[in-house]
Amino acid sequence: MKPAAFDYVRAESIEEALDVLVQEGADARVLAGGQTLIPMLSMRMARPSVIVDIMRLSELNRIESAEAAIRVGAAVRQRDVEHCPDLVSNQPLLAAALPWIGHAQTRSRGTVCGSVAHADPSAELPLVLIALNGEIELRSRRRSRRVAAESFFTGIMSTDCQPDEMIEAVRFPAAHAGTGYAFREISRRHGDFAIVACAAVVDARTARLAIGGVADRPTARDLPVPDDPGLDDALDAFAWDLEARDDLHATAEYRRQLVRRLGRQTLKEAARCRG
């Protein structure tokens, strides 16, 4: 076996899963769809002593569409949300972003909350949560709490989730009439991590742009609306403020240029979609 040895617990209840987290603390990891954790184990980038499998917990495998928000439980796979009836009208930004996550095969296994918990700076779902001002529901033996996406993501693959806590669900605010949404992404190949991903939310008076793949976490900023002459300067300042870095696939300059160009295109598309 490529991973280091670990114990495996298939939780029969949320309480059982939370008990393991209390006992093992940071040495325990929650296993949902496994699309990130399993490769991390195989590369030994993660070496937990216990894996807590939550995928048999039916109470976590629920999508609840209410007027205010779409609540997605911790065991819901990305593919199930993608195939939700009325997703495009309920939350078009989520509908637009989902097909960009990995591949159909990985979405069939990977969970929405798993991606949020992993908090990769280039991941699509954390970006959508940030753009929409979504919330994360955390639960432990001590308490249940809701955290705004803006304060949940704290850096590269780090979040406000404490060692005894697990994500129980995430909430994507539902679409508002008169608001347009758009998502664009540039990656090397179909399904690769985003070099730059843009999520835009535009209404009559405000425009909000969230950028993934550039800073250490998905980052949103309120900007002038697309036809405002101040947009270029605001985008330029946003691009610099994200403190892009070079990596194997793209330079920092390339990322800044994409923030300016793709960012503007995404805002314009959202404005067009305002309907």
Partner: protein
Amino acid sequence: MRLRTPPDSGGSFGVKQAIFPYIVLMAAAARVAGRPVKWIEDRLEHLCASVSATNRVTTLEAAVERDGRIIALSFDQLEDCGAHLRAPEPATLYRMHGNLTGAYDIRHVKIHNRVVLTNKTPTGLNRGFGGPQAYYPLERLMQRIAIELKLDPLDVICRNLVPAAAMPYRTATGALLDSGDFAATLETALHDGGLAELLARRDAARAQGRHYGIGFAAVVEPSVSNMGYITAALTPEERRRAGPKNGAQSTATVSLDPLGAVSVQVASTPQGQGHRTVLAQVIADALGLMPQDVRVFAEIDTARDAWSIASGNYSSRFAPAVAGTARMAALNLRDRLARLAATQLNVSPADIVFARGRVAARSNPDNSLPFSRLAATGHWAPGTLPAELGQTIRETVFWTPPELTAPTEADEVNSSLCHGFIFDFCGVEIDPTSGAVRLDRYVTMHDCGNILHPAMVAGQINGGFAQVLGAALYEEYAYAADGSFLSGTFADYLVPTTMEVPEPIVLHRESPSPFTALGAKGVGEGNCMSTPVCIANAIADALFLDAIDLPATPAKLAAILHGPEPARARPSRRSA
């Protein structure tokens, strides 16, 4: 020494043709331990220590007439072979030695080769071996000549092609180009591939401010390597001391069993190239049988089977050398069987035909017997065979082409037996935002001599194209400034998937090789040689670039498209 190879070993693309230190160490460890030893290699280990293609820096100078006709070439090739010089390196430099002038009639050539070792992944065999490194500068040069002399790049190519009447053509560096009408092949490709349409698309795109370019590449694809070409790396004096090396010995054995069933065994170590399919067809054709009547064995045991040091599946030698040798073995056996049949059917051997599983008199087809009965005779009634016939049970042929001679005193060498011709052209469009390259159309015209099996040839061309699209646009063994290896996973080393690979338009022309039994030439590596530079030429045409390095990543091209980035504006202090 004893080597046993399985009938299938999974994909290789060249990598499995070399001997690695771990292979020898495993054998030594097994001896010490007295039990089998298993080797497990993970992705990171494979990427950083198995095989990379060589990294070459070529300075190529040309003496050119005003009309684009090239008089002379001077190559200065600096070859980075990675951390260790592993056998057969520095062969990458010499595999193309004879055909370094490509498809062109250039009579004066100077070559200066140097090898350097670095701390990178060691280099070795990789599909196209030496081809991409040789043709990249040559075909980039053709485009540069056209631009500098204000000529059409196609005119520059056509004015330099080896004329059909000159075949077989001895190049300035020693290759004997075997056959082909390059000019006519190119014309057919332009017409059937629709160049006129691409030119119109380029005009329309440019009128709209879009970035569209067209590239060309003409190459010869060498196959069946001369065992002696690598010795061109030695001085003539060193060669004399070391003893001659030349040729390309191939082997094949055709056997008949007591029920008259046919089998063929070759020493070619396939990795998915369809040996069973093609050899069954070749042997069945020779003996008047159906392919399903022939059993093919492609595994070898060097202690038991016919083989030579030239055996193996490299330099696209299966169709021209291995399949041809198998045909020779089948024909030798058929001729002896015909003489045996002649005694049984009371006709002359010349009157015997092998067809539809029977052996018959041509003059009277009713006068016949089943092939299996005739084939079994050597087992059941050898006493009935005419004495001069010997046995009719098994025939092994060893074949080495006489054209593959050792290097001359002047370092000329016919480095390969066959030379197919490839002419490619493509249209690309560059996305103004991302810098991503979209292949609008890719046309690849191949003359690989006689095609033995169209589906196998299609598989080789499409597979080679997909592989090398990676080299052109995605794949790179990348190292940081401090030398650390940056592409140790498939998230870093990007292999194109089916989503990224468009289907090329594949065209054919067949000019049989006069030097092979089936008239076939190799076809497995050509696009690895032609496609990278064809795409590079198209990108250079789209963006009006003098120089371009592959892989042409979006970030590289976007830096050109976007221009220099203005420095950050000072934060405004309106509120102060």
